[in-house]
């Protein structure tokens, strides 16, 4: 494994944005605390069923909670994008909505950002139906998709 230094993340305070009216959907219903959601679009290939990608993303958009989206985890890993280390080492459980867990873990390892064994749930849009993936993505921290495509 590389000895690449951990790049400290900082936060840009968005609260300086003056709040106006906040409709119910926009309130961060971030649910059982700080479960982080990462959605991979797999935008550079057509190996994830298009309708699954679309339905899961639409569901996340409607869920009214904060989440991260990336065009393609493979592309990020190839660049050894330091944000992957931030995701892997960040606080709170992490749910990655992407593809095969073995591949996703390999990508994070390639980016010098190995995922911890505990606290990470990988949901597989290549094999699982959108409804099941979405339900697991927005569920409580202990919930998950009981299928071969999902693994923690």
């Amino acid at each position: 494994m590389s000895d690449a230094p951990i790049v400290p993340a900082k936060t840009v305070p968005l609260k300086t944005v003056p709040p106006t009216t906040v409709p119910p959907h926009a309130a961060d219903a971030d649910g059982p605390a700080a479960v982080r959601i990462l959605y991979c679009r797999c935008a550079y290939a057509q190996v994830v069923p298009q309708e699954v990608k679309e339905d899961v993303l639409a569901g996340l958009a409607a869920a009214g909670r904060g989440f991260e989206m990336v065009p393609d985890l493979c592309e990020m890993a190839a660049r050894r994008d330091p944000h992957m280390a931030g995701l892997a080492r960040g606080e709170g459980p992490l749910r990655i909505v992407a593809c095969w867990p073995r591949a996703v873990r390999g990508l994070f390892a390639l980016a010098d950002a190995p995922l911890p064994e505990a606290g990470v749930e990988i949901l597989n849009m290549r094999t699982d139906p959108a409804a099941a993936v979405l339900a697991a993505a927005v569920a409580g921290p202990q919930a998950g998709v009981a299928s071969p495509g999902a693994a923690s």
Binding site: K10, L14, T20, P23, R41, G66, W100, G106
Partner: protein
Amino acid sequence: MIAQPPPPPRVVVYEGSGPVLPDAADRGRLYAALLDRGYAVTRSGGGAAAALDGDTLLVIGSFAGSPPDVADPTGRVSVIVRDVGGLSVAEVLAVVEAARGERRMNRPHDPATAAAGPAANTADTWKPWFPVIDLARCTNCMQCLSFCLFDVYGVGADSTLRVENPANCKVNCPACSRVCPEVAIMFPKYHAGPIDGSPVADADVHREKMKVDISALLGGDIYAKLRERSADAKTRFSRERSAEQALSERRRCLTKLADAAQIPREVLDALPSPEEILRRTEAAAARAAAAQAAIGAAAGAAGGST
């Protein structure tokens, strides 16, 4: 090798001051369109957006005509704010693209033109195709490092295998996964398992091992074959006298290997001369041997100290 452009700016969809688009379906379409254009996106209901030094954040929101002045106090993160209240999905996209300006970024292929494949693969449309190692299966036998002619693999500081130059990999070529005796090499964008990263069954291991012996596929030792080809090269190419004939000969000789290892024809056409192949394979084999010797020495030292 493709020199990759810098990472894309990240679009922060700030909805603490109201939705950027009133309809949830439109918001989904906006996210999808941004991702399909290569942007990373954060949906934020408030609070803060995590950023690293050097990042560019493009914050979009519905600010009632008065976009706030948001800045990183340290000045190490560029923050651009745009008010997109009342705009359509297409108009929001146009605002984002305009804010990006001339900044280069990698772009996914338009699905309509994706069939163009490797021929359309340029510095700004690089399909991220490269091997990913399953560290739980890899035994550091270095067969892949010895096999790859394009310096995709390397050796880390701890002498273990490492994917060093992903962008050197030939798009849609999974050949090195075929030489791995442990089925430890994945190509996540491959169409079938277990190379795509799906679970490995015992039957997969047996099946892949049958394909490992590339030399057998060629009817003998691959390096001996290459040396033989190298020795014959001057005679053969002087006899062929034309690039077209040389290409035809190369294709004929490698067809068997291509079929067995599912190597795209474009990759074969891009292969260097037999002499260069020989030079690279010997250099890679030397690196692999050195790495294995280092691993062995480390294991011996560890054993001796216990």
